[in-house]
Symmetry: C2
Subunit: 338 residues, 2 copies
């Protein structure tokens, strides 16, 4: 028998998520049926949006319940196969969840190349070539519609999506301002990732610094957080500006989300602003376009994907709690096996 | 000397607007200079958006102050002219304010035809052919983009803009649901103006009735109110729906507007909703297109413009306060002279 470690939801969080909301158990690995494959998890990615599902209310992330294996996307290796389309040894991306082994219909896993992009790390399929990169790409280019010389503001700018959005906006010829928590992240944005300015939302002078970083106001606000940064951005939008609603990380880690920002809808009218939500899955048919362009940018050194790694499946709850507290830089990865 | 009655802002309102915030004074009528015309006010229109300016904060309506003549758009007759382009006797639309006489540069008044549309009433230049009709037209067709068979929800549906939006959405082949205050308004919408359903927001069963009136959810919400109706609409949008942000009447008559609705931006993401503010003035170059189409609809009996008239300049403050309390059906007009 092959052992399969699983991290299950022990209880839904009341208030902030804690590692104690999860429990580790060991069961027997599943056996693939007709047309199925057995996948060995190599690495899992964790995104803040998964916290929304744990609120028990409507969310695109579905409705996890106590007793279930925690969901999550992984890169994995096919260890047993009953389908010629995904032979043993294939590297795949699949919704494995937080466990060592999972079984999927072969048609539902996506076979990916070994290189994992130019970085040579399969985990890039969970970052720049995964949901994060695709979200940045379609949110910025299709919803935001940047034009050269415009000002783009990004919140959670050192985060999994934000750090890619900012770099893509620079590729589009925009002036890019990031909002992030803490001086270290802000330095990373301006010194390593090419942002024109970065503002620390934890600074006591945040409001003033925010205003000073945006002397020409905002054409596009790529909103990963909602909350106070959204409220501040609404007051500094340019006439005809766009707000790309991508995530609401400021409101995920609670059972009682705050009301919406003042200024909705009043300031949307005054500044003729378009505020638009999107989900990357709606763009699935165009993923190859995005993968092609992102790979070019990565290989040319124009787009630098960052990863932030925890080692070991048992660290996943801690990695998630830390992410919600703003601990990550780039895509949070939990390595499970090599 | 010609007497000019003026209604001035005596004090900016704290809390709700009251007639006592205004005072009547009589001064000498102004004399037009070079290139100017003297206009005799015939009728004024009052819109809820004017209340926003009295909050003293940023608003498209500008910043009125105590001691100023209250602003407002009027139809007027040119009584003296120093410009051949606008001869004595011309019927014009101009920003007269709440007074009998005003002077304007001739180039800044708009000469309109005597018929005032098929209704034969010059005051229609303040309603269906004025800002209200143009706002309904460009907001619905350009921002909302209705398609046949879609469901359109309108708030303040018996109001100056709303009653035209709903009828235009019917012309576009949509199913139209209105939200209005009181049974009488709701009956007007369904029995006279062709709405498919109307929901009374003052009903104790409002939430249930709102839900039942929208079994197929909402493609387009034309939002004149913000507040609770916006909150309710956000929860019932269809994937890919549009929210046209036109006004925030629920938040105008106060010095302390409420926070924005829960669900912004979270529900915008889940339902991939586009929420967009607009100001009709941005469409000025296309007004002739709208006038042409609206006149056709009015003359064909497909678009029925409603007016709601107070007689006498001195009634303007009362007419405004009543409007803010939801008293009007259609465009509120104050007749000053004939």
């Amino acid at each position: 028998m092959t052992e399969n470690r699983q991290i299950i939801i022990d209880s839904l969080p009341k208030g902030r998520l804690e590692p104690g909301n999860y429990a580790l158990r060991t069961v027997e690995a599943p056996v693939p049926g007709d047309g199925e494959v057995l996948c060995r998890t190599l690495a899992i990615t964790i995104g803040a949006g998964q916290r929304a599902g744990l609120q028990g209310s409507a969310s695109y992330a579905g409705a996890p319940r106590a007793g279930m294996v925690m969901g999550g996307t992984a890169v994995a290796r096919v260890e047993a196969s009953n389908d010629g389309g995904a032979p043993v040894g294939s590297l795949v991306v699949c919704p494995a969840g937080w466990q060592d082994y999972s079984v999927h219909q072969a048609a539902k896993v996506r076979i990916v190349d070994e290189r994992g992009g130019s970085g040579g790390d399969p985990a890039h399929h969970l970052g720049v070539y995964g949901t994060n990169g695709l979200t940045a790409y379609f949110g910025l280019f299709d919803v935001g519609e940047p034009r050269e010389g415009q000002t783009v503001l990004v919140s959670a700018a050192a985060g999994s999506v934000g750090h890619l959005v900012g770099q893509m906006a620079k590729i589009a010829g925009c002036r890019v301002v990031g909002v992030a928590g803490g001086e270290a992240k802000c330095r990373l944005l301006t010194e390593e990732l090419g942002f024109d300015a970065a503002v620390d939302y934890k600074s006591p002078n945040f409001r003033l610094e925010f205003k000073e970083a945006l002397p020409e106001r905002i054409d596009i606000y790529f909103d990963n957080t909602g909350g106070e940064v959204l409220g501040g951005a609404l007051r500094r939008m340019k006439v005809g500006g766009r707000i790309v609603c991508c995530g609401v990380v400021s409101q995920y880690d609670t059972s009682n989300p705050a009301p919406g920002p003042r200024g909705v809808p009043g300031l949307l009218i005054n500044f003729r602003v378009r505020m638009e939500g999107f989900l990357v899955f709606d763009y699935a048919k165009r993923y190859p376009e995005a993968w092609g362009r992102m790979r070019e940018w990565v290989e040319a050194g124009k787009l630098v994907p960052k990863q932030d790694v925890f080692e070991g499946l048992e660290k996943a709850p801690e990695a998630f709690v830390d992410l919600l507290a703003g601990g990550n830089v780039g895509t949070r990865i939990v390595r499970v096996a090599s």
